[in-house]
Amino acid sequence: MKAVKKVEVVVESVAVPQVLALLDRHGFSSYTMIPGVYGKGDRGESLGGVSGEFNNSYMVIVCDAEQVSGLVELIRPVLKRFGGVSLVSDALWVKH
């Protein structure tokens, strides 16, 4: 098992394509994404909306320790624009 960083991002679903394109451009092409997530934060509750456009998505990106600060700098302006939350934590990657 290898030490890695797990970066979690909760952001509005409407911004996800933009975030993914941004990550991809900077070499972070692997991710996991849970759609249809609800939440409440500084800017109020995600109400869902008639066609679900105002809910959140929960993204997980696993990367090496040295990549994490670059990744965080990519995500920060997105959070500034759209709100949301991002966490960084430690984990061990099961090699296969």
Binding site: V14, L22, G44, G49, E53, P77, F82
Partner: protein
């Protein structure tokens, strides 16, 4: 007038509001998405089939009128929001875009009104519905672009949406594709094949609409709690603006396009309605600084219920009055 409230479509909407107000656990957002897709396609198909028989000149006039309304109305809304309401530029631009665009749900409720009363109407408003989805998005975007302080950070990081991207989105969002797609299939497909599909797109249409309006009622009621935070001006705007739009729609329908009272009322309804599906997503991306609870509450919580309950019967009376 009270008669207008006993339209089943309206009653279903009221039932949805009630369900939310008594804090029922009823909800079906997933289903509602499917219903919306069906309704947009169905209205498009129906319109397309009628258009195949229609007059090209009249159709072009309707298209031009729709473009004009889609450009003019958000400008009027912007002026009111900025100079009467002293609202900031970005929120004004975002809200204005919603009022220039249209609400298919409101349009269909107007259709149900006419159907219940067995009133005939022109089919050109269906094309106008499809046309009017997009221009206001672009107007809103331009208003924001022109007034926004240069945002260096966003541009540097490539997060800023380019105008080209948003224009593209304005013309390829799901509602536009479904409406125009339905129109095209309805106009060009072999009539025998269409006939086989009509029990689905025609026969059960009004029933599906009722289920959709039930969900819309719940969504509208969800937003009522936000009224306090919005203040009197904005709630008033959500009622005044559809009335202004309706006047432009009535004039366009009756005087410019020469429609029957049924058709005139449909144009008035289009002009009076505010988008709550396509435009909110587009504005959230294009103008993230604007407060979504303002525009969602206005379009869904104020203007939609107002149009369904008060507006549509009113626009109908006005159309009748014009036709006298």
């Amino acid at each position: 007038m009270l008669d207008g409230l006993l339209i089943p479509a309206v009653l279903f909407f009221a039932l949805g509001m009630l369900a939310h107000l008594v804090r029922s656990d009823l909800k079906f957002p997933e289903l509602a998405k499917g219903l919306a897709i069906y309704l947009l396609l169905g209205i498009g198909l129906h319109g397309g089939m009628e258009l195949a028989k229609a007059d090209l000149g009249a159709a072009i006039e309707a298209v031009a009128a729709a473009f004009a309304l889609g450009i003019l109305l958000p400008l009027i809304a912007y002026v009111i929001l900025r100079w009467v309401g002293h609202m900031d530029t970005l929120n004004s631009a975002a809200i204005a875009a919603h009022y220039g665009s249209v609400s298919a749900g409101t349009f269909l409720t107007a259709l149900a009104f006419l159907e219940t009363k067995n009133i005939t109407y022109e089919t050109y408003p269906v094309i106008m519905l499809a046309i009017m989805e997009s221009p206001a998005i672009i107007i809103g975007l331009l208003l924001a672009k022109l007034t926004r302080p240069r945002d260096g950070a966003a541009d540097a990081n490539g997060n800023g949406q380019t105008v080209a991207k948003l224009v593209h989105e304005a013309f390829t969002n799901g509602s536009v594709i479904l409406l125009f797609g339905g129109i095209a299939v309805g106009a060009f497909a072999l009539p025998d094949g269409l006939q086989k599909m009509m029990p689905f797109y025609d026969g059960i249409f009004m029933g599906v609409l009722s289920l959709f309006l039930l969900e819309m009622g719940m969504e509208a009621a969800k937003r009522i709690g936000e009224f306090r935070r919005m203040g009197v001006f904005l709630v008033g705007f959500g009622i005044l603006m559809p009335l202004i739009g309706a006047v432009f729609g009535l004039v366009t329908g009756h005087h410019l396009l020469g429609f029957s009272p049924g058709g005139t009322m449909l144009v008035a309804t289009l002009a009076a309605s505010a988008s709550y599906i396509a435009v909110p997503s587009a504005m959230r991306l294009a103008i993230p600084e604007a407060n979504p609870s303002f525009y969602l509450t206005l379009a869904l919580g104020v203007t939609f219920p107002f149009n369904v309950v008060v507006g549509i019967p009113l626009y109908w009376e006005a159309s009748l009055w014009l036709a006298r």
